[in-house]
Structure formats: structure tokens, C-alpha cells
């Protein structure tokens, strides 16, 4: 270990240094502030298909797919719960696969096909999954519900397609539809009202009807 004296710093210098730090801390901010250049937003053209309709948008490159849907296309059925990929409320289907639309930028979806809750069914033309959610009361406040339904549809497809999950016992055979598989795969969609038990029943009914 090096001899502390080799550092060649005496107590007086240390104290002076500490004082200087304190002075910096209380100095007016403007004195030390270096103006950083403020860049104008970069706007980019992007076009994709949403619920069967083509859209050409000019978006800020920072705009998420979620905000493009909600703010630009005013498709507010897709919800923003956390904006961090932690809650699943923003789940949509992109080219048939579910994703968190808050975790992807709109400009990354040139030419994609996006399905949101509005494209799945309408109040007077419910999709069977939407009808099953109503029948089994698979929602309460309704804010996570579009994400749950989009995820629910994708989960049934994933099971059919044989995509395994953490709870799949046999990775070599077909994936069995079970409540455990549903619960595992739906766990990225938080429902703070706690409708999980009912959501599983709604999904099970739809899955069994699909056969």
C-alpha cells in the first residue's frame, strides 16, 4: 500500500478544496451554465396500416407507437399506464404478434400492420373475446382491459402455434391449453382492480369455443 504521505496533500489544501466545492454548490446556476444547443425535433414520414386502414404520418422520431396511435390517430382505446413496458395496458398486435406499443417508436413500423382494440370489435359488433370479458366481468375500471383483450387473443394464438412458456412441461409436444399457461402468459398485463380470476374464465371460454 502506498504511503499516504506520497499523496502530497496537506490538510490546508484539503480544506481549501472543500471550500471551493461548497462555493460552487451555492453559486447561482447561471454562472456555471453552458447553454447546450437546442435541436429542432426530427420529423419523419412513416406509413403503416391500422385496423385495415392505411395511415401516412409525419412524426417526431421520439414518438412512440403508442402516442402515434393515441395522439396522432386519436385511437385512444390503447392505454398508457406506465410508458415503460411495465404494465401491458398499451398492448397491440403488430403483424399478428403482441407488443407493448410504448416500448417501440412509431418510425420503426414502416409498412407494418397494426391491430388495436378498435380493430377487434365495436360496441355494437363485439368480438367473442370482448363479449366473454363482459359475461365474466373480466374488468372493473376498464383501463387495462383493451391491453388484456389484445394480449388474450395473442396468447391463445401463441398456444395454438406451439410456442412454449415458462410453465410448459413438455417442450417437445404440442402446448396444452391450461389455466396455468394462460396465467403465465398473461402476466405482463397488470390489472390493479384484480379481475384476473374472471379474465382467465373469459379466455378459457373463448379458447374452448374455438376448439
Amino acid at each position: 500500500m502506498a504511503d499516504p504521505s506520497e499523496l502530497n496533500v496537506n490538510r490546508r489544501e484539503v480544506m481549501a478544496g472543500a471550500g471551493a466545492c461548497a462555493a460552487v454548490a451555492v453559486a447561482p446556476l447561471s454562472a456555471g451554465a453552458q447553454p447546450t444547443p437546442v435541436e429542432t425535433p426530427v420529423l419523419t414520414q412513416v406509413s403503416f396500416n391500422v385496423n385495415g386502414q392505411s395511415h401516412a404520418l409525419e412524426v417526431d422520431t421520439r414518438t412512440t407507437l403508442l402516442d402515434a396511435l393515441r395522439e396522432h390517430l386519436r385511437l385512444t382505446g390503447t392505454k398508457k399506464g406506465c410508458d415503460h413496458g411495465q404494465c401491458g395496458a398499451c398492448t397491440v398486435l403488430v403483424d399478428g404478434r403482441r407488443i407493448n406499443s410504448c416500448l417501440t417508436l412509431a418510425v420503426m413500423h414502416q409498412g407494418n400492420t397494426v391491430t388495436t382494440i378498435e380493430g377487434i370489435g365495436a360496441p355494437d359488433n363485439l368480438h367473442p373475446m370482448q363479449a366473454a370479458f363482459i359475461k365474466h366481468d373480466g374488468y372493473q375500471c376498464g383501463y387495462c382491459t383493451p391491453g388484456q383483450i389484445c394480449s388474450g387473443l395473442a396468447v391463445l394464438d401463441e398456444i395454438k402455434a406451439g410456442i412454449p412458456s415458462h410453465v410448459t412441461a413438455d417442450l417437445t409436444g404440442p402446448v396444452q391449453l391450461s389455466e396455468a399457461e394462460i396465467r403465465e402468459r398473461m402476466s405482463g398485463n397488470i390489472c390493479r382492480c384484480g379481475a384476473y380470476s374472471n379474465i382467465v374464465e373469459a379466455m378459457t371460454e373463448v379458447a374452448e369455443r374455438q376448439g
Binding site: 417526431d60 402516442d67 385512444t76 383501463y143
Partner: protein, 739 residues
């Protein structure tokens, strides 16, 4: 309508619509994404700009300066309002923390500025260019360290649980000393976050001095008065509109920074402004359920009769904040001649503690019902039997005051039978299922029923459509549907002939959503308005009001029958009334009761806890809509599992803030954590509660369930954990030998 004598037979008792399991009338909108929440109201006002809120980066201190040059120069910025631009604003109702204004920082992530810009991305980018010069001060952030100096403080949570600083009945100390069997333990519950799915959000627009807020709020009447007080404007200049609320759980009882800063930002930018609190801001910027340290002492005779019971709780809060009323239920739940309840409040500089689903009872029952389990074991009694032995039909502090209706014993007995409780081995750590230790736990559930004034307006049009207007809110509770059921029953029409409009402050003031008071009171207000509308219909049709029957879309009296719509053929009929209450809640204790049964598996190697089965049996008066009421209960049971096993805001005791302030760090139950859940409602009515004979049920479901989980974990493993949540680190070193 004044309700001051017990209800007799009335049109609700027909139960043609009320009391039947009914799909939610708002379900088609919620499941198709066509129910508009606060941030989504593109249609209500044009030219909306975006706001972004900046939170304080210190827990306590002052702001010396804010440098805005860069932020102001950023693209798209329309206005910046900082907390230094104005003196400290008034507080809204029932809040301890100041929301905005002045240099003082009371807690971490307190709002210090709002940036308004053309786009969300621009507002966000500019907000992070604001440079804030803080002068931090030392603060108190450690409840355990402050608890020994905390003074006795009483409080009413405003949500049904209350207590003076200290309650004494008989001679607790003497009776406890003399008791043949004693229990004396301490329990802790952590700070918890509401974590509702929809962030706090508001669109604000000024029209001259008139302010409209499209917001997400549980209590429209409180909100209107509060925002007026905060901004210093007359309440009649404010309108709130909140038809859909993406969850609240107490977190949206109050006006919060989103509403205040949307209003201030809109004023400054001279544009309507929409903003939402970002998810990472919510835990520290808003309110939370405060942590508690609870001590429970129970003394009993050998035969299991409680002779002495004491429950003391210490919590912390900001100056002017209230204690968590965790001892409240212990005043009423079990008999015992000698009693002591006390609450202490430590001053802390953490964010404001305030109501979260069943404030008081939720954490209080988590301690009391584990203590009861421990006491039963010491007595060699079955925990169900021990609770039944100590049931009371009167207020233990005032034996002349009876419960209006109390069937806790019925809940426990039926629950035990349905759950297969008789198969439970009394010895813990005896049952194995593969690599799982399996255990069953029970706890009582208890929550008071509150009566509060609630008004509504009803309209009948020439098509026979009945429209209900009230500022009542539906936060997922099912208000839309039970209000429609009430109006349909009263006016004798089908459910699809009823339209319900909620959440607009221009409507009559209702109970709002909190303290599980919404359902009974808001429907009773609708009942009162419908009684008036029936009188108007009868008068218009020239019937004798005494014998008129409203059924099948018609009014009948004697041989004469006229379509209801006829009454409005010459013009719409409108009636408005409210329910208000006399002394029935004073002369009789009104409460709701449950028995929670839980089976868990605990992994023999890792200590991981999995809930395998759950059953709640509830006695809560008439159940208006068994379908949505069941959902309320299973939702509360789910939140109770969270409280038992995972939910905890981690306190940084040096810097003074909740560290895990998002949905990745603050863990709540997900699908994989929750099994199928069963709920049974006892078939009962409570004529003391209102003409509806209903009581609250939404919070009953969380009261006790955490303790039932903890008791099941003990039964599975023999490990008694008294510090929630029961994470596996508290189990893994103590597990029985796996082989």
C-alpha cells in the same frame, strides 16, 4: 328524503332488477376502447397543448433558483410555470402536502414546474432542461427511529375508521396481568402505493374565468371545492368532468398536481392543456398508505374468552397529516371487558400518507388477525372457533349500542364448511404436496358501513326512457350498473330503458367513491329522486298515488293502466332529491363482515409462496349486483395478496424517498400470482342502512385477507412472520427440512 327510521317494504324489494347478477352497462365501451378517460378527451376542446410536470429531486429543503433559459428556448415550448412564480397555494380538502407554489420542498417529487409545449415529446425534453438549484435540509425518514418519540394522536380517516388518541375501557393492564393466557407481539406493515392503472391525468381549459377540468377523480364534489380553494377562484367557476376513472383506490380522492398544473399551465399558455403524471412520479408525488408499527396484546381465560385486548399503532406523516387508523376495527370486532387502543403519529418528511383502500382496517387487520391466530394456537383452540367464541353483538365500548346486523359467525361457519376447514391439521408444517409445504389460514374481515348524503336527478322522456344524472363516479366499482338497476326497479322499466350519466360536477352532488360508501348511498339518492319522479308521474296521469304500481313500462292503478311514457308526452318530467340520514348510524353500529380462507403452498427449497385457493364469505346487507360486487371482492382479495406477499414501497432513509417508484420496482399481483377465487354473499338485508338495505362491500374484501395469507404461510411452514410483506428472504433460512 330523510332516512331516520328503519326501512320497511318498498319497490326495491321486488328484486326484479336489483339483486340480480347483471352485466355492466358500460361494458361494451370498456371492452372496445370506446370509454373515454381523462387524457383521451380529444373531442371536448380544440387546440390542446401538452404539459409535463417536473418533480423535486430532494426530499426536504428550499429551491434557491431555477434556470429556465434553455427550457424556454427549446422547440415547441409555449409556457413554463414554476413553483417560484407564485406564493405557496392553498391545499385542497383533507390533504397535508402543499401541491405547488413557493420555494419550500416538503417531499421528494413534489411538483416544481410544468412545461407546456406543442407536443408531448417537446414538453418532456424541455422539462429536463430546467436546472434547479436546491438547498437541501436534513429530514426524518425512518419511522422505526421516530416511533419512540411519537405523541398520541387521534383521528377519523374520513373513510369509516377512527379513534381518539387513546381509548380505555375497564382496566386493561390489570386484566392482562391476571389473564391465564397472554399474547404480546409487534407487527409491521410497509408503505404501499395505490398503483392504479390510469395515471392521474387532466385536461384543463379556461373560458374567461370559467375553468373546466376533464380529469380522473373519485370525489367530484370535493374536487370542485378543492380546486377552487387551491386556485383562489369561486367554486361556481369550476366544472369537473370524470365519466370514466381508471382506478383510484383512494389515490384519486383528492385534487392532485395534475389538475392544478394543467389549470396553471393552461392559464399561462392561453391554450387548453392536457397532462398526466408520469408513472415514475406517482408514488412520491401523490399519496400512499403509510407504514405502521403495531403492538397487540390479548389476554384470555383458559376457555378462550378474551378478558383484555390492546391494540396500539404508530405511523408517520408530514406535518398536518393524520395517523393511519389501524386500531379502529379492534374497538368493534371482538368482545372483551378490558380494552386499550392507542395511536401515535411520528412527524416524517416522506410524501403524504393518506387513504388507500380500507385505510385503517387494511393494515390493522393484517396485524390483529395474525395475533388472533397466534392466540388461538396458545389456547389450543381452532382459530375459527376462537373467533366465534369472542363474537359480540354490541359495541364493546358501549354495550347499549347494538350492531344493526352482524353475522360474522355465519360467515366463519359457512366459510369453514365450504373451504374444507375440518380437514386442516391443527399442527403446522405437516402437509406436503411434492416440493410444496401446504397450509390453510383464516381471518375475519371487518369494515364499517358509512352513511353520507347523496343526491341525484332523474328525467323521464316521451319515449319512456329514464335518465339519471348524478356526480357519482364509477371507478370500476360498477356504479353505472347499480344506479341503472335502481332506477329501472323504481320506475318499472327494463334496464335498457335507463341512461346513466355520471361524474359531471354540474349534476347533483352524490356520495362519490370512497370508504365503500358509494353503492349504498348513491343508489339511495337515486331511490329518493325516483320516489319524487313517481309522484310527478302519478300526478300527471291523474292516478291515486297510494296504490299506483310501476311495472313493465306502465303505471297501473285499479283497472287502469297507462304507459309510463305517456306521463312525459307533453314534456319531459324531471325530479331531483337526495338521501340524508338521521341517527340510525349513531344508535346502531353499522359494519360489514367477512371470513377469509386461504390455502398456500410454500416451496420447500426456495420459500416461494403461491396462493392456491381463496374464499371470502361476506355479510354486507343486500347485494345490489352480485356480479360486480363479487368482482369488487375478488379485486380486494387480490390487493390483499399483494399486501401480504409483495407490496412495499422501499424507503431510502438517507435521501428520503420511495425508491421503487414504478410498476417494475413496486410489485403488485399479476395473473400468475392469483388462483381462481370464490366469493359467497350471505343472503341478508340491513334495514338500518338505507331504503336500499345495502351496505358497502368494496373494501371489506381486502380487510383480513393479508392475515389469512400470513396465517396460511405459518400453517404451511411453522414460520411466523410479523413483518409484511412475507417475501421469501424472511422464510428461506427457517424452512423445515425439505427431505
Amino acid at each position: 328524503m330523510r332516512f331516520d327510521t328503519p326501512a320497511t317494504t318498498n319497490p326495491i324489494d321486488q328484486l326484479k332488477v336489483v339483486g340480480r347478477p347483471t352485466d355492466r352497462i358500460d361494458g361494451r365501451h370498456k371492452t372496445t376502447g370506446t370509454a373515454p378517460y381523462a387524457y383521451e378527451r380529444h373531442d371536448v376542446v380544440p387546440d390542446q397543448a401538452y404539459g409535463f410536470v417536473l418533480g423535486a429531486a430532494i426530499a426536504k429543503g428550499r429551491i434557491a433558483a431555477m434556470l429556465l433559459d434553455e427550457a424556454k428556448a427549446a422547440p415547441g415550448v409555449l409556457a413554463i410555470v414554476t413553483t417560484l412564480d407564485m406564493p405557496r397555494l392553498e391545499r385542497g380538502m383533507m390533504n397535508a402536502a402543499y401541491l405547488f407554489g413557493g420555494p419550500v420542498v416538503q417531499h421528494y417529487h413534489q411538483a416544481v414546474a410544468v412545461v407546456v409545449a406543442e407536443t408531448f415529446e417537446q414538453a418532456r425534453a424541455a422539462a429536463y432542461l430546467i436546472r434547479v438549484d436546491y438547498e437541501p435540509e436534513a429530514g426524518k425518514f425512518d419511522l422505526a427511529a421516530e416511533a419512540s418519540n411519537a405523541p398520541l394522536v387521534g383521528d377519523d380517516s374520513g373513510e369509516g375508521s377512527s379513534g381518539p388518541p387513546e381509548v380505555r375501557v375497564g382496566d386493561f393492564e390489570g386484566a392482562f396481568k391476571a389473564a391465564e393466557v397472554k399474547h404480546d407481539e409487534s407487527y409491521t406493515t410497509p408503505d404501499e402505493s395505490h398503483a392504479m392503472m390510469e395515471p392521474h391525468a387532466t385536461i384543463a381549459a379556461w373560458d374567461g374565468d370559467q375553468l373546466t377540468l376533464w380529469t380522473s377523480n373519485q370525489m367530484i364534489g370535493w374536487g370542485k371545492r378543492s380546486i377552487a380553494k387551491i386556485l383562489g377562484i369561486p367554486a361556481q367557476n369550476v366544472r369537473l368532468d370524470s365519466p370514466y376513472i381508471g382506478g383510484g383506490f383512494g389515490g384519486k380522492l383528492f385534487i392532485r398536481a395534475d389538475a392544478v398544473l394543467a389549470a396553471l399551465g393552461a392559464k399561462a399558455a392561453q391554450r387548453p392543456v392536457k397532462l398526466a403524471l408520469t408513472r415514475p412520479l406517482i408514488a412520491n408525488n401523490t399519496t400512499h398508505r403509510p407504514a405502521t408499527i403495531q403492538r397487540i396484546r390479548i389476554g384470555a381465560n383458559r376457555d378462550g374468552i378474551i378478558t383484555a385486548i390492546a391494540h396500539e399503532s404508530t405511523s408517520g406523516n408530514l406535518a398536518d397529516g393524520k395517523p393511519e387508523t389501524a386500531v379502529s376495527q379492534t374497538r368493534l370486532l371482538y368482545a372483551g371487558a378490558n380494552r386499550l387502543m392507542a395511536m401515535r403519529l411520528a412527524p416524517l418528511d416522506l410524501p403524504e400518507g393518506n387513504a388507500m383502500r380500507a385505510p385503517g382496517e387494511a393494515p390493522g387487520m393484517m396485524a390483529l388477525e395474525v395475533a388472533m391466530d397466534e392466540m388461538a394456537e396458545k389456547l389450543g383452540l381452532d382459530p375459527v372457533q376462537f373467533r366465534i367464541l369472542n363474537d359480540t353483538q354490541v359495541d364493546p365500548e358501549n354495550p347499549n349500542r347494538r350492531f344493526s346486523h352482524r353475522d360474522l359467525v355465519g360467515c366463519l361457519r359457512l366459510g369453514a364448511e365450504r373451504f374444507g376447514w375440518d380437514k386442516r391439521n391443527a399442527q403446522p408444517a405437516q402437509v406436503r404436496d411434492g416440493h410444496w409445504f401446504v397450509g390453510m389460514g383464516v381471518a375475519a374481515g371487518f369494515r364499517n358501513n358509512l352513511l353520507t348524503k347523496s343526491a341525484a336527478r332523474v328525467r323521464l322522456d316521451g319515449q319512456g326512457v329514464v335518465a339519471v344524472e348524478t356526480d357519482m363516479t364509477d371507478i370500476g366499482t360498477g356504479s353505472y350498473t347499480i344506479i341503472a338497476q335502481t332506477a329501472a326497479e323504481m320506475m318499472g322499466v327494463a334496464l335498457d330503458k335507463v341512461v346513466v350519466r355520471l361524474g359531471d360536477s354540474s349534476f347533483p352532488v352524490a356520495a362519490g367513491s370512497g370508504g365503500q360508501w358509494g353503492a349504498n348511498n348513491s343508489t339511495a339518492g337515486v331511490y329518493a329522486a325516483c320516489v319524487k319522479l313517481r309522484e310527478a308521474v302519478v300526478q300527471r296521469l291523474g292516478f291515486n298515488s297510494a296504490d299506483a304500481v310501476f311495472a313493465d313500462g306502465a303505471v297501473r292503478s285499479g283497472n287502469r293502466s297507462v304507459a309510463l311514457a305517456e306521463a312525459a308526452s307533453a314534456g319531459e318530467l324531471v325530479a331531483e332529491d337526495f338521501i340524508e340520514y338521521g341517527d340510525l348510524a349513531k344508535t346502531h353500529q353499522q359494519s360489514t363482515f367477512a371470513a377469509h380462507f386461504v390455502e398456500v403452498g410454500v416451496d420447500a427449497l426456495t420459500g416461494e409462496v403461491r396462493v392456491r385457493r381463496m374464499l371470502a364469505v361476506c355479510a354486507a346487507g343486500r347485494i345490489l349486483n352480485p356480479k360486480s360486487a363479487r368482482s369488487q371482492v375478488i379485486g380486494a382479495m387480490t390487493m390483499g395478496v399483494g399486501a401480504a406477499l409483495m407490496e412495499e414501497l422501499a424507503v431510502d432513509k438517507r435521501r428520503g424517498f420511495f425508491v421503487n417508484h414504478d410498476l417494475a420496482g413496486y410489485e403488485v399481483p399479476v395473473h400468475a400470482d392469483i388462483p381462481h377465487q370464490d366469493v359467497i354473499f350471505l343472503d341478508e338485508v340491513d334495514p338500518m342502512s338505507s331504503p336500499m338495505k345495502a351496505k358497502g362491500v368494496a373494501e371489506l374484501g381486502i380487510c383480513g385477507v393479508g392475515a389469512a395469507v400470513a396465517n396460511a404461510v405459518y400453517h404451511a411452514t411453522g414460520i411466523r412472520v410479523r413483518d409484511y410483506p412475507l417475501t421469501l428472504d424472511k422464510l428461506i433460512g427457517h424452512l423445515p427440512e425439505a427431505v
